[in-house]
C-alpha cells in the first residue's frame, strides 16, 4: 500500500467521493479492493479504468474502489453499480469491455438479479461491503453510517441502548454465542471508574476471513459499533486487537480512526455531546491463543499472551483489572444496523435462540469460495449448494468443517440441518467465528483431524500441562494411525486422552482441541478403523507402507 505508483495517486484523487457529491454519476464501476482481489492486481484495474475513462472523455462516470464484493473465487471483481452487472476474473485487457458497458448505462437502468450466490444472502453486518469506499467517511455516512450513534447520543440513555441490544437477541459472533446484551449489562453494572471496550480482531481459524473482509471493507461500522457499546457500558477508551498478518485491514483501520477523529466521531465530545471515546490499535504477533479473551488482554497490556483461569471474567476484571467489554468484529458490525432498524426487525430474523444473520467464509473444495452472510436457520445444503455452487468438479460432498480448530466435521447425512449455535453444538461441532471448509471424497478425515491437532499443538502457549503435552501426544497418536502403525489400543488411548485434555486444559484452545477428533470419530469411525485394521487410507491421502513380511 505504501509503495503506490504516482499515477495511482492521481487516480485516487479523481475517485474521491467529494467531487462526486456535487454531481451524481450516470454510471459507476465498483472495483473490489479487498485483500483477495488486491492480490490478483485489482488496484491496477482501478488505475487502468480511471485512465481509460479519462481518455474516453467519460466525465459522468465514477470509478470507485470498494470493499469485498463477496465472490472471492472469481476475483478480481468489477461491478457496474447501476445494473449490477458483474465482471469476473478481470484482467487489464478486459477494461475496454467495462468502459463499453459503462457507456451503455442509462438513467432508467435498475439492478438485475445476480444469481443465487448473491440473491439468497441477507446482508446486515456486511451491508456496506462492496458498496462503499472503505477509505471514505463520506461514503459511509452516505449509506446511513453514524446515524445510529448520533441517535443514541442524542435520544437514548445507556440503559435504553442495552435493552435494545438485549431485545434484538444478538449473541457473540466470535463463536461461543454469549448474549451480547447480557455482557454489556454486566460491564455496565461492574464497579469501576475506568472501563474499556475491546474489539477482538485476532481472527486465526484456518480458512476463516470474515473479520478481515469486514475490517478491510467497512472499518467505520466497527468504530461506530464500538462507540455505541462504549456509551452503553460507560467506557471511554477502546482497543482493536488485530493480527499483524492483516496489513490492509490495519492500514484502513488506522485511516478510518484518523478520519473519524477529525470528523468528531471519535475523541472528546463526540457528535457535539459530552460523550468521550477514543480507539487505539494493538497488533498481535502471530499467536492464535491471543484470540482467547484473557490472553488477548495480557497481550494488550504488553505481557506474554497467555490465558488465565476465569472467573473473574473480563467483564468484571479485565484490562488493567478494569471492567472490560470484549466483542468480536462481526458483533460490533451488527450494532449499528440493530439500532437503526430496531431490535424487533433483527429478532425477526433467524431461528430459535439464534437471532439475526451469520457471516461465513466459504473455503475448501467449493465452487464459490468467498464471503457470505445468511440468516440463522438456513440449512447447510442451501449454503453449500445454492450459495456455494456445490463442489468443485461436481465431486461428492464428504463433510463440512465449522468452528476452526475447536470445531468439528459435519457429514453429508446432516446437510439438511438448520445452522444455529445450538444445532451445531448438538452435532458435535461449533459455530466458531464462521469459517466453513467444504471437503470432498479426496479428504481423509483422520488426516483432517491430524491437521487440526498439529495446528493446536503449534499454537499451544505452553502454560498448562494438558494442552502443552496433551495436544502433542494426541498428534503423535493420530500420526501413528495415518502411517498405518497404530493398534486398537492406540485408538482407545486417543479417545481417553482427548477426554482428559478437554476436561482439564486451562482455556478454550486446549479444551476445544480434541473436538475435531471427537467429531471425526463420531461420523467417520470406519475411516479410523480402515487405517488401523486394514492398513488402508480410503481417501488415498495417507501413505501407508505395507509392513515387511518377516520370515
Amino acid at each position: 500500500m505504501s509503495e503506490m505508483p504516482s499515477a495511482a495517486r492521481s487516480i485516487r484523487r479523481r475517485v474521491s467521493t467529494e467531487e462526486i457529491a456535487e454531481q451524481p454519476p450516470r454510471a459507476s464501476a465498483y472495483v473490489c479492493e479487498a485483500a483477495s482481489c488486491m492480490s490478483a492486481q485489482a488496484h491496477d484495474i482501478t488505475v487502468r479504468l480511471g485512465e481509460r475513462a479519462a481518455e474516453a472523455g467519460l466525465t459522468d462516470v465514477l470509478i470507485k474502489r470498494v470493499g469485498c464484493l463477496g465472490l472471492c473465487a472469481a476475483g478480481p471483481l468489477v461491478e457496474i453499480a447501476e445494473t449490477a452487472q458483474l465482471f469476473e476474473r478481470v484482467k487489464p485487457d478486459d477494461v475496454e469491455g467495462i468502459i463499453k458497458a459503462l457507456k451503455k448505462v442509462k438513467s432508467t437502468d435498475t439492478r438485475q438479479p445476480q444469481g443465487p450466490f448473491f440473491e439468497k444472502q441477507l446482508r446486515v453486518a456486511t451491508e456496506n461491503l462492496g458498496r462503499i469506499d472503505p477509505e471514505s467517511l463520506d461514503d459511509f455516512v452516505g449509506r446511513g453510517g453514524y446515524e445510529a450513534l448520533k441517535r443514541v447520543l442524542s435520544e437514548m440513555t445507556s440503559t435504553d441502548v442495552r435493552e435494545e441490544i438485549t431485545r434484538s437477541g444478538l449473541r457473540g459472533r466470535g463463536g461461543a454465542g454469549y448474549p451480547t446484551g447480557l455482557k454489556w449489562t454486566t460491564v455496565a453494572k461492574a464497579q469501576g471508574a475506568q472501563k474499556y471496550v475491546i474489539c477482538n480482531a485476532d481472527e486465526g481459524d484456518p480458512g476463516a476471513f470474515m473479520d478481515r473482509s469486514v475490517l478491510e471493507s467497512d472499518p467505520f461500522s466497527i468504530l461506530e459499533g464500538m462507540a455505541i457499546a462504549a456509551f452503553a457500558v460507560h467506557a471511554s477508551e477502546g482497543y482493536i486487537y488485530c493480527r499483524a498478518e492483516y496489513p490492509l485491514a490495519v492500514s484502513r483501520l488506522r485511516l478510518a480512526i484518523r478520519l473519524a477523529q477529525r470528523a468528531g466521531f471519535l475523541g472528546a465530545g463526540i457528535a457535539d455531546t459530552s460523550f468521550n471515546f477514543d480507539v487505539q490499535i494493538r497488533l498481535g504477533a502471530g499467536a492464535f491463543v491471543c484470540g482467547e479473551e484473557t490472553a488477548l488482554i495480557a497481550s494488550v497490556e504488553g505481557r506474554r499472551g497467555t490465558p488465565r483461569p476465569r472467573p473473574p471474567y473480563p467483564a468484571v476484571q479485565g484490562l488493567w483489572d478494569c471492567p472490560t467489554l470484549i466483542n468480536n468484529v462481526e458483533t460490533f458490525a451488527n450494532v449499528g444496523a440493530i439500532l437503526r432498524k430496531g431490535s424487533e426487525w433483527y429478532a425477526g430474523i433467524g431461528v430459535g435462540k439464534s437471532k439475526g444473520t451469520k457471516v461465513f467464509a466459504l473455503a475448501g473444495r467449493i465452487v464459490n469460495t468467498g464471503l457470505v452472510e445468511v440468516p440463522m436457520g438456513m440449512t447447510l445444503r442451501e449454503i453449500v449448494y445454492d450459495i456455494g455452487g456445490g463442489l468443485i468438479d461436481g465431486r461428492p460432498f464428504k463433510a463440512v468443517q465449522t468452528g476452526g480448530p475447536s470445531g468439528g466435521c459435519i457429514p453429508a447425512q446432516l446437510l439438511d440441518m438448520a445452522v444455529s449455535y445450538e444445532s451445531l453444538i448438538e452435532v458435535g461441532s461449533f459455530m466458531g467465528s464462521g469459517g466453513l471448509i467444504v471437503m470432498d471424497d479426496t479428504s481423509c478425515m483422520v488426516d483432517v483431524a491430524k491437521y487440526f491437532q498439529d495446528f493446536c499443538r503449534e499454537e499451544s502457549c505452553g502454560k498448562c500441562v494438558p494442552c502443552r503435552v496433551g495436544t502433542t501426544q494426541l498428534y503423535m497418536l493420530l500420526d501413528l494411525i495415518t502411517r498405518g502403525e497404530a493398534t486398537l489400543d492406540d485408538l482407545a488411548q486417543l479417545e481417553r486422552l482427548a477426554g482428559i485434555v478437554q476436561k482439564t486444559a486451562l482455556c478454550g484452545l486446549g479444551q476445544g482441541a480434541p473436538n475435531p477428533i471427537f467429531s471425526t470419530l463420531r461420523y467417520f469411525r470406519d475411516e479410523y478403523l480402515a487405517h488401523i485394521v486394514d492398513k488402508v487410507c480410503p481417501a488415498g491421502v495417507c501413505t501407508i507402507t505395507p509392513a515387511e513380511v518377516t520370515a
Binding site: 488465565r308 483461569p309 505452553g462 502454560k463 500441562v465 502443552r468 501426544q473 488411548q493 476436561k503
Partner: protein
Amino acid sequence: MTTVFTLQIDGRDVAGSEGQTVMEVAEENGIDIPGLCHLEGIHDRGACRLCMVEIAGTPKLAAACMTTIVEGMDVTAHSERLLEYRRAITEMMFVERNHVCAVCVANNHCELQDMAADLELTHFDLPRISPKVDIDASHRLFAIDHNRCILCLRCVRVCDEIEGAHTWDVMNRGLDTRVQTDMGIPWGDSTTCTSCGKCVQVCPTGALFEKGRAVASGSKRQRPFLPWLKVVKEERGQ
C-alpha cells in the same frame, strides 16, 4: 471486617474467609489437594492443572488454587475421575522431557517424584517426547537442567515477586517453552541475578540445583520460608 463463609470439601464442613481460595481453606483443614505450580507466598497461576476440583452446580472443573470460596460451595477434591486426570497429567509431565530419577540430584527430594508416589503411578502409557534440551551451568553457584523443568514457573515468580530481580522469564511457546534468564542470555552472564538462590530453593524438581551436588543430595530447605519473607517485605512497606 471479613466475611466468613462455610462450605464443604469432600463432604467435610469447613470455614474460610472471603477472598481465600479453595486450596488455602483445604490446606488449613488438613485436606491435601495436589499441586505443583502452587506455592504459598507467591501468586498462583493455575497452570499445572493437578489441583482441579469438582464444584457442584458447575459443569467445568476448577483449579483449586485460583478459585475463591463462596458461601455454601460444595467441593469434591478427591474422586475416581479426578484421580485419573491427576495421574494422566503427572504422566504427561514425566514424558514431556527427560526425567531419570536414578541420576537426579533431587532424587528423594523431588515433588514430581512424590506426586507419582502419592498417585500410585506404576508405569507410563504415553511415549516419551524427550526433545533435546540444554543445560546451562554458566552460573558460578547454580545450574539449570531444562530436561527436568516442568514449567511451574515458581522460579520466575519468586525472582520477580520476592527477590524483585525478575531475572527469570519465559520464552517460546508450546513444547518449546523454556524458562530463560535475562532475555535468553546464559545465566552466568546475567546482570540482574543477585545469586540469592531462591529459585533453586523453590524448584519442585532437580531442574535448578546447586553446583557440586551429586545424585540424591540436592535436598532443599524446609519450604515455608516464603511467607516469612513476604511478611518482612510487607512490614518494610514495600
